[in-house]
Amino acid sequence: MGKRVLLTGLDTFWGGRVAAALEKDPEIELLLGLGTGPPSVQLERTEYVRADTSYSILSRIVRATKVDTVVHTFLILDSSSGSGRTLHETNVIGTMNLLAAAGASGSSVRHIVVKSSSVVYGSHPADPAWFAEETPRSRPPRSRLERSICEVESYVRDFAEDNPGVKVALFRVANVLGADIDTPLSRNLARKLLPYVAGYDPLVQFVEEDDVVRCFEYAVRAGLDGAYNLAGSGKLPVSEVAAIAGARRLPLSPFLTRRAAAPLVAARLISFPRELEELLKYGRGIDTGKLARAGFLPATSSAGAVERFAQANRLRKAVGGQLPRYRYEADVEAFFKHSPAVVGPDEPAAS
């Protein structure tokens, strides 16, 4: 019998991408995607359920569909994208409900894959150059985002402890760049204006968006268990990131940085959430040796991820308006998925 997979955040960037990738795996018998809005990418056989993340709905879905794998990717990692309340509700409460539903008595779930972020390690002058999975943070989390991700991870750890029969893979993903992803850093680079804290030029790491998707695909297929760091090879200084992306650098005062940045943020010249400020002062490096030993190597290096982003940006600037975009049409999708009239894939046979 094939795998039955439940995906969260189908309407978000990662949910859509991972679903599209998992669809190609013939061993997966059922793909079920939850989301609060319609999916953003074209999906072949993923069942879409418009559902929020309340416990009662999740536990009913898990019980009724007998899924054995849960892929959880919808954590908010940009503290400027919404209020602190949304951040807490989505990240902490959403994860708690999902894990509770997956761990309910008689649950069929045997494998959980969670996308976390390297912000759990923080960014501090006392940090080592490379964090291994078991290296503790140098200081307790202070920003809202870091606190929320740390809480999420503690729920995941508790779940793994309470459910020894369930494999729990947790990925701490470095800053992502690539052709399509939208993050505070990518927004700055796309505007060709990268703020930095004067006097600091720390080393940072990136992972290319397709590598993240491939990693989740691998994790589901190989049944990975435990916490893993995910990043492209190598590190590079922030000044070099600006050079590769062709962005001008905008110095901010090293003292009272947030206050110096506030008018620029308000004028929408730069994006500068707190987690970016800390990263731009002390950087961060995560050691991906454990994931490599588990059999997964990202195809693109840190510098390569920045280069891919820069190329995509140039391409989009030239022909962006002409690229066709997918729009979700509920009736059409329902027809293609469920009508007995549909007997083959809705793609030209040649591709």
Binding site: A129, A179, G199, L236, A243, G304, L315, R316, P324
Partner: protein, 280 residues
């Protein structure tokens, strides 16, 4: 494909480093900046401090080793001079491990890192020594060395909690002690302001002989031309299994204390032989 992803339209990259635009390595060190540092350091090394080595052949030519030295002078010149000397004489890079406080100072932290400095964290030392077989330089006295008054010069402070011994044991590399004479007199501290240090949030705020002679600006970065002598002592190897999480505290402290005692005796011997602070 009806809806091509932008990523599918991009060319493939030539290699992992094809996109790199600088030569900054994973520790933040840049050969480019090192070349600049060498250009600045050379005249200081040759003509100002007139550095002389004894026993340089005891520094391993290959493989990891933890170099340790005594630390002196308000802004100690011993670290860059040792790094410069070994790099020039042996052709090996030396990574200087410094207090993490450095990293938080705008400008200074970045420059120090580009010139081969690394934050003193046990994980960093382990990676350098064991995984990469590099030379790392630490000052076990920590800030207690350079912050001492001129009247206390050449009296070694406590060697922390012996962390350097544990690091070397874990990495399975020798400790190579270097006794430094001259650095103390290049910027001797006459007075320390505790309140000033607190106010400026620095580990210590020194008032030096250089300030007295050259004024507050020049005196903060012009060294007195003391003669530097470095003597490399016999490398200390530990007969323990590397890679352990923890080593017996007693064994660690005993080894650290033995090294400290030997360095102190060497310093006294070198000072007894020294005829002049300025000419050696």
């Amino acid at each position: 494909m009806p809806f091509p992803e932008v990523s599918e339209l991009l060319p493939t990259l030539a290699g992992p480093d094809a996109a790199r635009r600088s030569d900054v390595d994973e520790w933040g060190r840049s050969e480019h900046v090192r070349t600049l540092a060498r250009a600045v350091g050379s005249p200081l090394y040759d003509h100002w401090f007139r550095v002389e080595w004894e026993g340089l052949e005891k520094v391993p030519r290959s493989g990891g080793a933890l170099l340790i030295a005594n630390h002196g002078g308000a802004i100690p010149a011993d670290a860059p001079m040792i790094m410069h000397g070994i790099e020039r004489e042996l052709g090996r890079p030396v990574y200087g491990l410094a207090d993490r406080w450095f990293r938080s100072v705008p400008g200074v932290g970045t420059l120090w890192s580009r010139a081969g400095g690394v934050a003193a964290h046990p994980d960093n030392a382990h990676r350098l020594l064991r995984d990469q077989g590099q030379l790392a330089l630490v000052f076990p006295e920590g800030e207690k060395g350079p912050s001492k008054l001129a009247s206390e010069r050449y009296r070694l402070r406590r060697f922390g909690r012996g962390g350097f011994v544990e690091t070397a044991m874990r990495a399975g590399v020798p400790v190579v002690p270097i006794a430094v004479v001259g650095a103390e007199e290049s910027m001797p501290i006459l007075y320390r302001s505790r309140a000033g240090a607190k106010l400026l949030k620095v580990p210590y705020l020194p008032f030096t002989l250089n300030h007295l002679l050259l004024g507050p600006v020049l005196g903060s970065f012009v060294y007195l031309p003391a003669k530097f002598r470095f003597r490399v002592l016999e490398p200390v190897r530990f007969d323990v299994e590397p890679g352990l999480e923890r080593y017996p505290r007693g064994q660690v402290m005993e080894a650290a204390e033995a090294i400290r005692r030997q360095m102190q005796e060497t310093l006294y011997e070198m000072l007894a032989k020294r005829r002049s602070i300025w000419f050696g």
